[in-house]
Symmetry: C2
Subunit: 348 residues, 2 copies
């Protein structure tokens, strides 16, 4: 089985730790390892490094290679420009030799947390068998914990295998509105889509050909004339695989998995998965607290002192500090937009 | 008229900006000048630098001399150890030649803010006349703005001069309890003592001889045998001039003065006197705010970004960050105690 690690993201929600040249996947947020490093490490021994493919951007390629010295350099692909997951997945599958395309391929985001690697590898193994036998697309499903509007939802259908709880997906709904998400979660009939897909490589190319002919045609040209990559790739439609393919196919199946998954979508999400001290403070680095509860305090350089502070995110780097209430941690994006507007390049 | 600037304080309430080797009086908090520098500058042209005496500690002497290059080096006295204001005032007066002791002397804290220097100098001039004519001790009085328990209160008596509003002080009460302070403020009959006293030097030495004979005797020995300073001074009783003398004398007079006085007793007090932006944020250095109100944000080095934060004090230095709600800014002292306990010398 081959693995495609999507490592081209430029997420801004972990600013000021995450920067243009050091995006989330390169950060060690929930452990001593970067999220990218952990994503690859947890695949072994089921998928070895020689079967790992990484799709990233030219800007990040050097850093990615440094993080993953054991992955063959030719399997770390550099997008001339980020064009979302459909193009990235299509291009990476197409870059594999035909015999590998014929086999199973797992797509993995490079910036998620998975606490239980053994459970996770077990699910991959089941998924491999499913797509090789039936040629269906498999997605891993997570029991929803709140009515998140940023995820995809899998409506559960018939149980196809009792042991693995493999189930049909009646419908895939990407990013529902809040009322719908609420209804989905309350019904108990839905799982979150974790963004981890398993399919036969050839099948995915066929699906892109059907639902995203423009992407497929562009990639076919690149395959014939590799020197035109820089010209063609940036023109490909930018669309996520969820909207492009997953919402459209009618034979999607899911394996429910309880593996301590989190997409670590914000500082607040990180705080949820890390263990705090007796006052509920999650700290990293040199942090002093007095009478302070339920904070996330990171001191990458220097120290941070908090007195009488609750439910805050405080992050200190060598050059800046962020202070934001936990419940507003998503708004860090607004801050990054402001930095862009004001052209404060050194802080981006 | 001579001026004694008391610059030996080691206040901790402006941590992390204030440190052992850079206490509050050496900081530029309310302007571009250090509080010490501003204290001396605002005396001219009424008191020139040749008439300025500074009492500080050995540890701070070099920094004080650098701040006040125009003050004669011999008039910057170095205490072997801090022994509170009675000893400091007594020793400095005693260090003056007899002809100066016979004249008026003003005692000034080095770490207060006075916005209107002209009004202030006018009051000093009136006070000089009063103590030379009547040999009384004069203190400057401030209309109280809240029931502060950390100050001294002057109960107002008879008006002695209509123009200057010079008044007798019926009683001086240092650091009343909260109920008493409340009563004082509501009555309208009290002023805050600003800690600025004017007296004839010789009179102060006599008062110390009467009320603090141990201090007077120790200082007399030091005068006879200067080489014993390091041995004797650290043994002198440590008591403030307010408790030692001002509460005890019955001929104290006060000049009410409206000069934009603040003792800048905490980060919160500083915020009150500085002008904020339209959202009420007082910022210094490179600060970015989104949806944030009524904060005091200082970036001495690097930058600070706040999103959705209100009524907070955030101070970033090269090595640390403080985050504390405005109303708890006084508790920074607890933090400094914690640093001392944990022997985190580099942060003190």
């Amino acid at each position: 089985m081959e693995a495609i690690v999507l490592a081209g993201g430029s997420g801004t929600r972990f600013w000021p730790l995450s920067r243009r040249r050091r995006p989330k996947q390169l950060l060690a947020l929930d452990s001593e390892q970067s999220l990218l490093r952990a994503t690859v490490s947890r695949l072994a021994p089921f998928i070895e490094s020689s079967s790992v493919w990484v799709c990233t951007t030219r800007e990040l390629a050097a850093a990615v290679r440094e993080e993953l010295p054991e992955v063959p350099a030719a399997q770390i692909l550099e997008e001339p420009a980020g064009r979302n997951t459909s193009a990235a997945i299509g291009w990476t599958v197409q870059s594999m030799p035909p015999e590998l395309r014929a086999g199973a391929v797992a797509v993995l985001p490079a910036d998620h947390r998975i606490a239980d690697a053994e459970v996770f590898r077990g699910a991959l193994e089941v998924a491999e068998g499913v797509c090789l036998q039936s040629d269906r697309v498999v997605t891993l499903g997570i029991a929803p914990r709140w009515p998140e509007t940023g995820y995809g939802y899998l409506q559960l259908g018939k149980v196809l295998d009792t042991e693995s709880q493999l189930r049909e997906v009646v419908r895939f709904t990407e990013k529902p509105d809040e009322a719908t998400a609420q209804r989905f979660v309350e019904s108990g009939d839905y799982l979150w889509n974790a963004g981890i897909f398993i399919f036969r490589g050839q099948r995915m190319l066929e699906l892109l050909g059907r639902f995203q002919p423009e992407i497929a045609a562009g990639l076919a040209t690149v395959e014939q004339e590799p020197e035109r990559l820089t010209e063609i790739y940036p023109q490909l439609p930018s669309i996520s695989i969820d909207f492009a393919v997953m919402e459209k196919i009618d034979d999607l199946v899911t394996i429910p998995i309880d593996c301590g998954w989190s997409d670590l979508g914000s500082w607040a999400a990180l705080q949820e998965v890390l263990e705090g001290d007796e006052a509920g403070n999650v700290t990293r680095g040199r942090v002093l607290t007095i009478d302070s509860q339920d904070n996330l305090i990171f001191a990458e350089e220097g120290s941070v002192a908090a007195v009488g502070v609750s439910d805050m995110v405080i992050v200190r780097t060598g050059d800046t500090v962020l202070v934001v209430p936990r419940r507003r941690a998503q708004e860090v994006r607004r801050l990054v937009s402001l930095l862009e507007e004001q052209e404060l390049e050194e802080l981006l």
